[in-house]
Amino acid sequence: MSTAITDETLIQQALAGRQAAFANLVTRYERYVFTLVLRLVKNREDAHEVAQDTFLRAFRYLADFRGDARFSTWLYKIAYSTSLNFLRKQNPDILSLDDQEKPVNLLHVSSPDASHAMELADRNIALQQAIAQLSSDDAAIITLFYLYEHSLEEICQITNLTMTNAKTKLCRARQRLRHIMEQNPHLMAG
């Protein structure tokens, strides 16, 4: 992530009304927000809409960002709650992501030719398939901890989980992912 201009500087500029600063923040975080949202909503079109909504909500409440946490933590918290709201609208019976026990297989969504991904030895697509097989909750916590390198405390801030719950969920998600990856040993980093 580029740190030429700090997030704090961009936020101050954005609050002063500079549109370029808003655009810079979007460019800087679009892939991170989109990835997290996609892990949760499991559909590219929906993820696009929810990610956009995340940034708009963040801009609306930017003045409320106090800086006592990393900007990314604050932004991912918005992304997480926006995704959860979206899922609840889609299925009002969902009270938490725990209710989505059944993982969604997105092979056809992640890539049009994903069924041939293994044959093509495209490791990235195969990794995306692996994580797409996890439930929303598992995929999000794995992404936040291992990919975005957020601490357990930060994950608690984002997801409103307790430390114990977050750790339990992380362990459970990791076991499930390991199980998927063990079936595809070439996915392991060398």
Binding site: Q19, F22, A23, V26, T27, E30, R31, Y32, F34, T35, L38, A47, H48, A51, Q52, F55, L56, F59, R60, N124, L127, Q128, I131, I142, T143, F145, Y146, L147, E149, L152, K167, L170, C171, R174, L177, R178, M181, L187, M188, A189, G190
Partner: protein
């Protein structure tokens, strides 16, 4: 964690993820030195952990930033329009004020209008103006005056309602 603990995969994962206290970490490291097989298991866990960190970031459609910025600009527009409306409001309120002043001028000019505070001006500076006395009761009691007054009040009431709805819309749009 005591000295006779077994280095389970769970403990090794906690070690790799940095969840152990400094004391527990020391115990695990001591055990790892004694048990090369555990070290091999830890190496495997670290390799798996590295794999988790190599998941590729997804890329939104091209032009995502532009789309967000366009949506943001559109969201800001009602505020800009509101400022234009606000500007127009001054014209309206100004006109309404003048109209009201015209309506109440007869009362101000009426000879029996109560003075708020007596002002003493040297007589030489006081121009000798005689205010023509006029019976305004006829004008005030006329249907046309009452109709104009009623219309003005109705317009002001509608404008006030419009203003309230605008503010409410802007509040809900945010």
């Amino acid at each position: 964690m005591n000295h006779h603990f077994i280095l389970t995969d769970e403990i090794l994962w906690d070690y790799a993820d940095g969840f152990l206290s400094p004391e527990e970490k020391k115990q695990v490291e001591a055990r790892l030195k004694e048990h090369p097989d555990s070290q091999a298991r830890l190496d495997h866990i670290l390799m798996e952990k590295r794999s988790f960190a190599t998941f590729p970031l997804e890329k939104p459609e091209s032009g995502f930033t532009q789309q967000v910025m366009h949506a943001w600009t559109m969201e800001q527009k009602p505020v800009k329009n509101a400022s234009k409306v606000k500007h127009k409001d001054w014209i309206f309120w100004g006109a309404a004020g003048i109209l009201l002043m015209l309506l109440f001028t007869p009362f101000l000019l009426a000879p029996d209008a109560p003075a708020t505070e007596p002002v003493r001006i040297p007589e030489k500076f006081v121009p000798q103006i005689t205010v023509p006395s006029y019976d305004w009761t006829g004008l005030l009691n006329s249907n046309l005056t009452q109709f104009l007054l009623l219309i003005t009040l109705a317009l002001l009431g509608l404008k006030l309602l419009d203003k309230y709805l605008q503010v409410r819309y802007l509040h809900t749009a945010r």
